[in-house]
């Protein structure tokens, strides 16, 4: 074959219809595979929207695509996301021996990559061909051969390796001490036993046995020890060895040195999330945090479950699950950019506790009234983006956005792989044809990203800067965002500098396997931007088009919430979610402290779980030495008068875009406990589900059955079918054989 002879056909693919006027199955598949051009996509989408039969066929086809990918993945002999299993190492030795010894034909049985873990760890040498392996050195050669056959082809192998190393670190650090994980932090540093159902040392899930034989193998520095524990425990351990880059010192002593969390995918990274603990109101009357409008976690969790995998606990951000759904909230009044709505109800997982919902609704701006946008798309077109759920999906998503553009809007496209390319110079929104052609021409290939192209993207944005407009770089990536020579820190500084100059950054995550949640969220946060995970076209539509106003336009900057609890009414409280958004109390009034931004039409919900005064035995708080100079019981006269029937008081600070001084809004919450609106009941079911997924110690009496009952009874009008989708997702989880939440 010579290059001249090897050309690809260039015929256009057109939608086909059956004689009865429906789409053919092949057409539906082609559409879902993202192969059609824009005209064809529009034709198919118009039909699917109008034709329930074809919509059903599309739903089925989506299922078939996911299911067949799952079946094929089973064939890849390195099990993805599964830790080295019992006896793996010995099985490897046994098989190797038998193959050599008896000439048995079963030499094709492959072994997971537990074997080379130590060789990597011991100074990067891959010299596993050591003659001091117990047994014989032929086995060593065999092992080496395995290593060679495995090393290149299986990216997943690397994940398994790191997991194995993480486990070794865990072993080295010793068995996690009794008091190390779950008790509340105290000033005195002496945690008291908690009344919560904590895993007891010696319970089966934490038991780990080292056989003498395995230990000796370990001592030879060649094999990981044989370990007996469930897959659930390995996952937990992977989570325990959490990635803690830039994480403030945890209030708990961690049983392991920081490592990297390996999700069930391969190479996906998540920052560790530690549930916020209950805090005593007398010592901590204020709770301060930055709002967070991201909801990428929901789509990400859905991807895991649809693939039949348990999402890693650190991928489950409860506030993002809750904020995924639209709620019925009043519009802001007067000149306020945001409204505050609150509600109190019993916590379904612990009926003696109360649940307080604080909901924000920002002003909606209709699409036509939006100020002009100057968008620069920065698109990864390296080889890793070629799979159907990456670049093809990006292209479809962009096509959807193009329809929304107006004459005053501008779009540019910068691509990067081994080099950076201006695929579309800044172009007015009325030149749709030109924009579409540039999008169509995008193709993945070439080596992994050598340059990020972010400087060029910012340069293009600056050259076409629209004052009073929405200037934004939109990064689409699968997480393999290579910044070249500069560090992540430098990148963040660049993004912050550009933010201060008025160009924001939005990050859209695509694809699986190499997905780096923590990094992407951090980048978006530095750039005053949003961050969304896009796993299908509907999600793309939600992120880009349906919510163009919200995703792209900010109405309130640096939005912070501070809640003050009334010690006469509340003993202790816990903020559900927002673990990585906590602020120091003094940051609330410090206008130099950056916080989250509210886009037009955004909704944000925060949940507090309260232990009312008089309830005992559900939570045990550490005893605090009584203070000599401050008497916690004594409130000011004003507070005594005003606060008698108040449960808590909400302070909200925000800056209007372009202003540097913050404004304050306040809202008092009365003690009245209601049955809970439909939204409130739905929210509490989502929170329950999140706690189950995270195996949270605070999940109380909740169960999948309870989540389902509650969610089904709280569907409401469900515009867009999001809540029905949630019910289906919970049912999927219930039917998967991956749950850890049931009693053992």
């Amino acid at each position: 074959m010579s290059p001249e002879e090897f050309n690809l056909p260039d015929e256009r693919i057109v939608p086909e219809f059956t004689t009865t006027g429906h789409l053919t199955e092949g057409t539906v598949g082609t559409w879902l595979d993202g192969v059609f051009d824009m005209a064809a996509v529009q034709q198919v989408e118009a039909h699917v929207q109008a034709c329930p039969e074809c919509a059903a066929m599309a739903a089925e086809a989506r299922g078939l695509i996911a299911a067949s990918a799952r079946i094929l993945r089973v064939l890849d002999t390195v099990p993805v996301g599964v830790a080295p299993r019992t006896g793996t190492v010995r099985a490897a030795v046994r098989i190797a021996t038998e193959t050599h010894g008896s000439g048995s034909p079963v030499s094709t049985v492959r072994v997971t990559t537990a074997v080379p873990a130590t060789s990597l760890e011991s100074g990067g040498s891959t010299d596993s061909d050591r003659s001091d392996i117990p047994g014989n050195d032929r086995i060593g050669a065999e092992v080496k051969r395995y290593l060679h056959t495995w090393w290149y082809p299986a990216a997943a192998a690397a994940a398994t390796l790191v997991l194995a190393i993480g486990m070794r670190a865990w072993l080295r650090a010793g068995y996690p001490a009794q008091d190390s994980g779950y008790s509340l932090p105290t000033a005195a540093g002496a945690p008291s036993p908690s009344a919560l159902p904590l895993p007891q040392p010696g319970s089966p899930e934490q038991q780990l046995s080292l056989t003498p034989e395995a230990q000796s193998m370990d001592a030879s520095g060649t094999f990981t020890p044989e370990m007996n524990f469930s897959a659930a425990t390995t996952r937990r351990m992977a989570a325990v060895s959490g990635m803690t880059r830039e994480q403030q010192p945890a209030p708990y002593s961690s049983p392991v040195t920081p490592g990297t969390v390996i999700g069930p995918g391969n190479g996906e990274q998540y920052d560790r999330i530690e549930d916020n603990p209950f805090l005593d109101v007398t010592t901590n009357p204020l709770s301060t945090f930055s709002i967070d409008v991201d909801r990428a976690s929901y789509a990400n969790v859905r991807r895991f479950l649809e693939n039949g995998q348990q999402p890693p606990a650190d991928a489950v951000r409860i506030e993002e699950l809750i904020n995924y759904f639209p709620y019925d909230l009043p519009a802001p009044r007067g000149n306020d950019p945001v409204s505050i709505t609150t509600e109190v109800a019993a916590a379904p997982w612990q009926p003696s506790h109360q649940l307080v919902r604080i909901a924000l609704q920002s002003r909606r701006i209709s699409g036509t009234a939006l100020p002009p946008s100057n968008l620069v798309f920065l698109i990864d077109v390296s080889g890793s983006m070629s799979s159907p759920n990456k670049l093809p999906l990006v292209k479809q998503a962009l096509r959807l956005l193009v329809d929304q553009l107006r004459e005053q809007d501008r779009v540019a496209v910068v691509t990067y792989r081994d080099g950076t390319r201006l695929a579309l110079p800044s172009t007015s929104g009325d030149e749709k044809e030109r924009i579409v052609q540039a999008i169509e021409a995008l193709e993945a290939g070439g080596s992994t990203a050598g340059s990020s192209g972010i400087e060029m993207a910012y340069r293009v944005a600056r050259d076409s800067f629209v004052s009073n407009g929405n200037n934004r770089v939109i990064l689409t990536t699968d997480g393999d965002f290579n910044v070249g020579a500069s560090s992540d820190g430098e990148l963040e500084r660049l993004i912050e500098q550009k933010r201060d100059e008025g160009t924001y950054l939005t990050v859209l995550g695509f694809g699986t396997g190499n997905y780096q949640d923590a990094k992407m969220e951090k980048l978006a946060r530095s750039g005053n931007g949003n961050y969304a995970y896009v796993d299908n076209l509907a999600e793309a539509r939600k992120a880009l088009v349906h919510e163009m106003g919200a995703t792209l336009l900010t109405v309130a900057n640096d939005t912070k919430l501070q809640v003050e609890f009334n010690p006469r009414r509340v003993q202790s409280y816990r903020l559900v979610g927002y673990e990585d958004r906590l602020l120091r109390n003094e940051d609330f009034t410090d206008d130099h402290k950056d916080a989250g931004d509210l886009g037009a039409g955004h909704q944000v919900t925060a949940l507090y779980e309260l232990v009312p005064v008089g309830v005992t035995g559900t939570v045990s708080l550490p005893k605090v030495q009584p203070r000599r100079y401050q008497q916690p019981g004594r409130a000011s006269a004003a507070a005594a008068a005003a606060g008698s029937d108040e449960l808590l008081f909400v302070n909200l600070r925000y800056k209007l875009p372009g202003e540097s001084t913050s404004r304050l809004m306040t809202h008092a919450v009365r003690t009245t406990v209601g049955k809970g609106s439909i939204d409130m009941r739905f929210i509490s079911s989502v929170a329950s589900f999140g706690m189950l997924l995270r195996s949270s110690v605070y999940k109380g009496s909740t169960s999948i059955a309870q989540v389902l009952d509650q969610a089904r009874a709280a569907l409401g009008r469900d515009e867009g079918g999001y809540r029905a989708g949630f019910v289906r997702l919970v049912e999927l989880y219930r039917d998967l054989d991956i749950r850890e939440d049931e009693p053992r």
Binding site: E11, T30, I71, L75, P79, G87, E98, S104, T108
Partner: protein
């Protein structure tokens, strides 16, 4: 980084996976992948490199399957043994196996049986698609018309899932419900 090194870095893993999913034999897949890249090296720069590589790999694969049916026979042996009654092959009887491991071995045998139940062209098209090839590349590599790729893939996916499900049901009923996947 020279061209072949770049090609290798980028496409070696997908090509090996593509071949291994076909063959059920990783060593053989590795050998054929080696041969594929060797040919790329001899050949020099190509346009449409990914489609070119997968075409070469597919040709090698077809030659190999025709010539060496026995290579597959030994795997068939293994999977039949596994699928027949959930009984593990001899080599594993010596091991204390967890339920997990047995289930995963059986799952793999089922998946393999399902993949082998596909017509060759459907199977190749689906596996290429899974490695991210677009319809035009698949059409070129398999000598199909571009318009028929969508139909081919839909058919392959449906059949794969159906066969796998029915095998699963069959396996569960013969296992008498004791060995639940």
């Amino acid at each position: 980084m020279d061209n072949v090194e770049r090609l290798f870095r980028e496409y070696h893993a997908p090509v090996v996976r593509y071949l291994a999913r076909q063959l059920g034999d990783h060593d053989l897949a590795d050998e054929l992948a080696q041969e594929t890249f060797l040919r790329a090296l001899r050949h020099g720069p190509v346009v449409n490199e990914r489609a070119w590589l997968f075409t070469v790999a597919t040709n090698l694969l077809r030659d190999e399957t025709r010539r060496a049916a026995r290579e597959r026979a030994r795997l068939t042996l293994l999977h039949q043994e596994l699928a027949s009654d959930g009984r593990e092959p001899d080599v594993f009887r010596l091991e204390r196996e967890t339920e997990d491991e047995r289930a995963s071995l059986r799952e793999r045998a089922l998946a393999r049986a399902a993949v082998e139940a596909l017509a060759e062209r459907d199977r190749l098209a689906l596996l290429m698609r899974e490695e991210g090839l677009d319809y035009h590349e698949i059409a070129a590599a398999l000598g199909l018309s571009v318009a028929s790729v969508g139909t081919t893939l839909s058919r392959a996916r449906r059949r794969l899932v159906n066969v796998c499900e029915s095998l699963q049901i069959e396996a569960n009923s013969t296992a008498g419900g004791t060995d639940v996947a």
